[in-house]
Amino acid sequence: MSDATANGIAATAAERKPRRDIGIGRRYAAERRFKAYGIIAIAIGLAFLVMLLTSIISKGYTAFWQTEIKVPITFTEKVLGTPEQAVKSQTKLLMANYPQLARDGLVQLLGISADDKKAVSAANGLISSGTRVTLRDMVMNDLSIIGTTEDVWLYASSELDSAMKGQYDLSVPENRRPISDLQLEYIDKLKSQGAIEERFNWGLFTFGASSRAETAGLGVAIIGSFYMMLIVLALALPIGVAASIYLEEFAPKNKFTDLIEVNINNLAAVPSIVFGLLGLAVFINWFGLPRSAPLVGGLVLTLMTLPTIIIATRAALRAVPPSIRWAALGLGASRTQTIFHHVLPLAAPGILTGTIIGLAQALGETAPLLLIGMVAFVADYPATPMEPATALPVQIYMWANEAERAFVERTSGAIIILLAFLAIMNLTAIFLRRRFERRW
């Protein structure tokens, strides 16, 4: 009897046992589905990234090489005047017909009769007219060169360069392509003589603006961007960190500080072109600072970067555990001592990361610089941040507007350089964070 009762109780207990397996299959399925969505999302993102990089690199890598021709140049007194004359007055040297020297040398190299106007003109089209500067500098640096003959590597014209890189479709009729059959013949001849070579394009990093692709470079843009980054770093970091420390640690919580906080967050979302207008109105029209100057660009970018740095710094300060503050305060440290001895060092990696990301943003910013006139044809290096310069992204924008084939590859090449700078900055941010991050 008692056995039966016991069995009965056991049976009801078994029936009442909660069924925890209800919907378990569905729950797992939902989880698998969600994971799949995530993987698909990442795959799409990666695919676009790969497409972007492939397109830019495949178009741009050739910009890092430039065709050059080795031409025997005779520095004749007929063109340059005698060294004695040059010592007295440099006018003749400055004004001399250097392209003629290059043309004569090439004509001689190719064995063309100097009377064959058509052939000479075709040969002349192979050399960049930028050779003027190269040859003039050689003579100005060393007057004893006058009267001698020397092999000089000269920049090829952008047409020859593009033809060498196989960027022209040679099957179209001669009159519809930028390079003639005669010129192609000359190229083959130069190749067989070993007088033509693709060499690393240092000019891409050192030249200023030029209407000829082969002598156009990012030099001025790199200097301009560098000046602006220095100005942004020197202004935005101390102002941003000081503002954050005040707001986070000292400011009373009232309507006024709430208003400031809302405004800082909103400023971070203001379109950058608005900052450009502000810079134009305030820095140029009101303060009377020069147009196109990296100083103005740096000031505008500082305004743009400040909210980013303030938000990152405040987050970093807030992430420092309160126990560290209590420990210092409990020992009798003042609030300032607590912040500067303990909180700030612990927040430093976060602040640095935020600053570098802000700088990277500023480095890639174009729109505000267009408004303050940094979109300009600047051939000479700016000696100070007050002199006209361009910036990397603006140079890319300007080159993208050029039609010539050689500028297309340079545009992509410049993008690669800009991306490389950004990658270096982001890697530095990661490195600094790893290096200085302390556990507590």
Binding site: P252, P321, W326, G330, L331, G332, A333, Q337, R439, W440
Partner: protein, 270 residues
């Protein structure tokens, strides 16, 4: 429960002759915004004794403790009323420098919170900011003495330049005590110093507290009634923001006057 505590008490330190009063508090009230957390606590803290504050969670004992060295100042919405005297001086007097007050009334927190610096720098920080050492030797002397008093010296003397955060929980808490001692405070406040420690580390810290009594006045908040019984000479029972009862520890655990104290120590609530 009762027998347990009774047994502990019998092993505990004998109550000493009445000591002079170190800190006097009168009608201390604390408001957090509109909420009142302490409703007028009047308590005298005797010198060179351990005073334990017990009571259920949220009864205001930690709040009271944090009034004694004005740590409540760091909470914007906290408003403190009443009178708190340290050696007869009002600690909330506008002329009192809170920095100096906290050097005289040190604090040890619930969770060990060493600075992410070396063991040496942890202890040396307080003396440095208060200018207690005039030379490197003096600083070394202070650091070594403090570590010795905190019973940590033997364990760490050969690795003073290693990070304080690399120590075990119990060692970290003793490091925090050494850090508090290093500024030569008169009073040390301890807010549940053992709640994050295992029983063995707890026993070490408790022994340490008992030794420190010789030189310092100690106020300790604890959730463990055994701990209160083991280390303290005076016990104050808080309940819902009121001081329910205060008396010699022995009496509190054997024959409390207040019903709430009796219920609490016998485990009926809390």
């Amino acid at each position: 429960m009762m027998e347990n505590i009774q047994a502990t008490l019998n092993r505990g330190p004998a109550v000493q002759a009445a000591k002079p009063i170190k800190m006097k508090t009168k009608d201390v009230t604390v408001h957090y915004g509109a909420k009142q957390a302490l409703n007028g606590v009047t308590l005298n803290i005797p010198e060179n004794q351990v005073t334990a504050l017990i009571g259920p969670s949220g009864c205001g004992k930690s709040t009271y403790l944090r009034c004694l060295n004005r740590m409540n100042d760091t909470i914007d919405i906290a408003k403190v009323g009443g009178e708190i005297l340290l050696d007869g001086e009002d600690v909330y007097d506008p002329d009192i420098d809170v920095v100096e007050l906290r050097a005289r009334v040190g604090m040890v927190f619930q969770k060990p919170n060493p600075f992410p610096k070396s063991i040496f720098d942890n202890v040396a920080y307080g003396p440095k900011i208060h200018g207690l050492a005039r030379s490197k030797q003096e600083l070394d002397e202070i650091v070594h003495t403090s570590l010795r008093r905190a019973g940590l010296y033997k364990e760490v003397h050969d690795r003073l330049d290693e990070p304080g955060t690399g120590l075990s929980g119990g060692q970290q808490q003793r490091l925090c005590i050494a850090r508090a001692i290093a500024v030569s405070p008169e009073v040390i406040l301890m807010d549940e110093p053992c709640s994050a420690l295992d029983p063995i580390a707890t026993a070490t810290v408790e022994e340490l507290i008992d030794e420190l009594r010789e030189n310092y006045t100690i106020v300790i908040v604890t959730h463990s009634m055994q701990q209160a019984a083991r280390v303290s000479q005076l016990t104050a029972m808080f309940h819902l923001g009121d001081l329910a009862e205060v008396g010699p520890t022995e009496k509190m655990f054997s024959n409390p006057d207040d019903k709430r104290t009796q219920d609490y120590i016998t485990g009926r609530f809390g």
